[in-house]
Symmetry: C2
Subunit: 421 residues, 2 copies
Amino acid sequence: MTGEILCVGTELLLGDIINTNAAFLARELAALGIGVYHQTVVGDNGGRLKEAVALALSRCDLLVMTGGLGPTYDDITKETAAEALGQKLVWNQEAYDRMAAYFDCTGRVMSENNRKQATAPEGAVVFQNENGTAPGIAMESSGKIVVLLPGPPSEMEPMFYGQVRPYLEGKTGQTFFSRTVHLFGIGESAAEEKLRDLMEASLNPTVAPYAKTGEVLLRVTAAAPDKSQAQALLTPMIREIRQRLGQYVYGVDVGTLQKAAVLALVERGLTVSTAESCTGGGVAKRITEVPGSSAALKAGICTYTNEMKTALLGVDTNTLEVHGAVSAQTALEMAQGARRRTGAQIGVSVTGVAGPQPSEGKPVGLVYVGISSPWWEDVKELHLARGSGNERERVRHLAENHALYAVLQAALKVKKPPDAP
Amino acid sequence: MTGEILCVGTELLLGDIINTNAAFLARELAALGIGVYHQTVVGDNGGRLKEAVALALSRCDLLVMTGGLGPTYDDITKETAAEALGQKLVWNQEAYDRMAAYFDCTGRVMSENNRKQATAPEGAVVFQNENGTAPGIAMESSGKIVVLLPGPPSEMEPMFYGQVRPYLEGKTGQTFFSRTVHLFGIGESAAEEKLRDLMEASLNPTVAPYAKTGEVLLRVTAAAPDKSQAQALLTPMIREIRQRLGQYVYGVDVGTLQKAAVLALVERGLTVSTAESCTGGGVAKRITEVPGSSAALKAGICTYTNEMKTALLGVDTNTLEVHGAVSAQTALEMAQGARRRTGAQIGVSVTGVAGPQPSEGKPVGLVYVGISSPWWEDVKELHLARGSGNERERVRHLAENHALYAVLQAALKVKKPPDAP
């Protein structure tokens, strides 16, 4: 089955918003085995929208459209798509009732305009919108499927996961199950090198790498009639990946480094405190992104000056004088200080040169990450500059990654209690 | 002049990366007065690329393409575009010399493949690439212009600003100058309401609002033959906007809230320390995003537990017991503590319920921002929940905004010394 993505919205054409919907849908359709060869954006303009729909339908089996389902007169996606498939819009009482309930519960008043959102082509599948007013729609005619989804990602994505994906699985006759292997400390191409034969030879499950700043994810996807048969395909592949990349695998389906770190801490009843210089609070911020992190984070102390490193973390003035603020010795004393001053079991520190200017005669990108706990102490020297782009934010983000990874490693050195949550 | 954006890359079609180039180019072309009605994405596939180029050229005057200019055999954008315009590729010595120098300076070895990047259609304009290997190209034929740009934003964006925009200004016969007015504390639609007549009636300069999370920007753009004539158009319009929205305008061309705050502090020789609970270090992190912020930030203290609020910030245990951690009283004592414990002139604090769960029987979104300085103390009670989407990150980001705005306000209450940097 070939698919095509058509996003509708003048705000996209003007560049006021970035088209994350196209990337989301592209990834999800690829994971369903649906080949997508074109993505298009047009504005809320009747003639051009009609042309774009006709062109797309001339070259694909499944057209997925987002946007233009709102209540105003310039929202014409549904009308245009229905016309292209020769279908009539009729009243949909369930969609209306849902919308009325949504307005009730958010305390807003439904306007006359909104009634137009409660129509759908006869016989169409209606995807109810749990997070907004415009329902999604799937309509079929002469072997072509058109799926219409609301534009806001906060409405579109849950609708896709909850209702559209199962619908499309029914159409492709296959159900897909994915697991994500999280890697740290290895680049995308090095990971590919070690897995190339698996990636090329294995069709079910498939293995596909995705790069995030400083991290690599491997998505392993199996097509199978049900979950247990999918697991039977996924488990040996994940075992094989672990065997080849063992030291770099920090989790499966763990979401993010900070989630993995917080989970490992909470499971073991451990707490951490951070001592940050060049990351300026970024490590603490990422830990506290995770709901429930209040059980894991004691405190975060960001000391940008030498004076504060001594006052708040107890770093020896002699250490700062002899080795400088950006040094392994200072990093270690910061981590120790964070632990000692707050009573956390683990202290983690970051000190380095984020740029744009060198500091203490040390180059941009030189970063030390320290970790201190009763059972493990260590400092890592990192060289994170690449020589182009927004170096400062990149260096800071990568330094945060290393600090979070150090916290995870420190936690994992403690045996998980048998009654862990 | 009508334009069209065609982005080439299989990684876009698979959703591995988000198409930020399309949004960037859309915004920039709109600012140049070039109307864009279609954006398209295709992969590195000869047939489909050729069709896409032909279709685009049938409906626009200016086709801007990104991606597919690399050295490998599947990079075919240049060849396809040249063929569509009936042009031949010839050797470009300057492009080759630049590329050789780039390889030299980054310590890498040029491969035979790279030679293909040093060709261009005869008579084409070549945009040298300061941040990578693939040069950009502009070619013209029978009234149509095709501009080819490299895919990586770190190469494309500087090339656009430095070389492509002036080239396009030469084509449109107009030069555009923009200034950005930054607003805080007013929503996009309320701002529009107050400016509607200006936005509708004024064609030169134009006024266009852009919404960021919790902030609104107004871009005022003048078309004029030179900068001083543009200023003559821009200045009265900005004065008018200030008059209408005065209290909400926090700066013109200041970049971000954190940049405005750091600049105001540095100009006055002031320092700030942060005391954060629910934002978990996010305020300090945003302050330290700004190069040079080390002169403005003393320390950031993130206290997630009551125990730490008392130990590190000196919040009275009685205050925490009687009023709770999420209260105006605690916010004020946190801000005072941050100031007192670090010797900064300004202390700013955030305490609130970021969610997903209520806390102390207080609802998600309730946040207090405190500010303390010898000349001003204040606490703001905020209700930041909206009831949908990723509430936690939204609440945290908006709370950070309010804290940064409070720091800016505190700094602005101090007279700028005449010898300010």
